[in-house]
Amino acid sequence: MSILSFIFSQTARNIRHSWSVQLMTTVTVTLSVLIFSFFYLIYTNMVEAGSRFGDDLRLMVYLDDAPSAEMKKLYIKNIRNFGEIEKITFISPDQAFQSLEKQLGAERGVLKDLTSSFLPHSIHIYPNKKLRNLSRIKVFSDYLSSMPGVSKVQYGHSWIERFSYFIKLLRFIVILSGTLLLFTTTFMVSYTIRLTVVARHQELKVLRYLGATNWYIKGPVLVEGFLLGFFGSTLGLAALYLLFQWIKANFSGPGFMNLFTLTFLPASHIILILVISILLCTSGSMISIRKLLRI
């Protein structure tokens, strides 16, 4: 009998003998992976939503008069000169009035006696992500003010602050709960494996007394750790996917979709979770038999 065929037959025998413990441990890993990746999924979707939120950042340049086609070109040229800009749009008083009505929502009644004529022409500038920080925007705003025909430049000062706060809060909650969860699951899984191996300590000790070499002992334990990590995390991820599909099917109301466009974890992250689970389980198993190999 070769050592490899031994390792596999031994693993199969162990699993048959203690399948209830093995099952419980697998469920532990599954639940841990499920919970962890569930929060990770929420995090990635919220960060996504948050960054789309940030896309709304813009500077409003109010003009004295309606710009001519020539002037428009000049403005665009000057603005692009300054830095990387995502989009520039010219807004007529009519368009401004419409968006104002929309913005006021319930209170649009205040505009009932007005026409668009009281509103100025304006340019909306959407800066690139790199430009989105308070000091850069300030300099940009000063630059825009100095252009001819510009009466005033405004931007969401408090808005930027609130946005960066929001991202900060989000990151904080996720990092904190992620750390807690990672710590707990690692602890629990390794503890469980430890207890499982302790329960088989006598058996491994007897093998050792009979002259079993290191690999003879390690092999089956390693394979078991690997299978545990693999099946546990695969099941966890599968459960997460089902959950995700269910959420997507049940919560695609109009009120949500402008907040979140749900996306599943990318393949690379899935593989990472799989690999880390397997590493944790196998190294947990290894640590728990380390002492035994010194006999």
Partner: protein, 228 residues
């Protein structure tokens, strides 16, 4: 490492070995003796004299506090982990407390000693059945060893020790739970192995098995050894 089959050479050489269990139990004191290949030795002594300790030193389960132990010409203090395991593969031990796996069957328990040496399943099956027959526990072949009577378990432990027909066989109180008939069968097995060249050490109180013997008799008393 391997115990070479050159006739009449020393297989065990123990020189002034002392074993102190922490903190202060002196189990063996300046013990010296040699065993030649093919010998059968009875090791006697009162309870607590140090018989089991001496056998444990030979398989590196315990390490001597002082002194030199050579097995098959190799100083066991100089063996690394793999070498120790290889050595254990060549020594069959019937432990006083059996050390069987209660959930595995009798067959599996005995087969284990051969599997560790990567013997083929056919060879294992044949040898295990032979041993079960010799010790009349064939009908318990597929019972979990934890559900046997104590005397049956003892025979399983002896069968496991004898499975590889090892060059060196250590049996610790092998007949403590056996009636006369079963004792005779076990002794017949040991004699057979001894005739085939195995060196055998039997630690025992059972005067009935060594009273008229022509084999060597070693006596341990308060950790010191004397030849009778």
């Amino acid at each position: 490492m391997s115990i070479q089959p050159s006739e009449n050479s020393k297989i065990i050489d123990i020189v002034k070995v002392t074993k102190i269990y922490p903190p202060d139990v002196m189990a063996l004191r300046d013990v010296s003796f040699t065993a030649r290949r093919g010998e059968l030795i009875f090791l006697t002594g009162a309870s607590g004299a140090g018989k089991t300790t001496l056998l444990k030193l030979l398989t590196c389960i315990e390490r001597p506090t002082k002194g030199l132990i050579e097995i098959g010409g190799n100083d066991i203090n100089k063996l690394n982990s793999t070498a120790v395991q290889k050595l254990r593969q060549r020594i069959g031990v019937a432990y006083q407390d059996f050390r069987l796996l209660p959930k595995q069957t009798v067959f599996q328990n005995i087969a284990m000693a051969m599997e560790v040496r990567l013997k083929s399943p056919r060879e294992i099956k044949q040898r295990v059945n032979e041993l079960l027959e010799m010790l009349s526990i064939t009908d318990k072949r597929n019972n979990p060893s934890g559900k046997l009577s104590r005397g049956e378990q003892q025979r399983v432990a002896i069968a496991r020790a004898a499975a590889n027909a090892p060059p060196l066989l250590l049996a610790d109180e092998p007949t403590g739970n056996l009636d006369d008939e079963a004792t005779a069968k076990v002794m017949a097995l040991f004699d057979q192995l001894n005739t085939q060249g195995s060196t055998i050490i039997i630690a025992t109180h059972d005067t009935s098995i060594f009273k008229d013997t022509h084999h060597r008799l070693l006596h341990l008393q308060h950790g010191q050894i004397t030849e009778k």
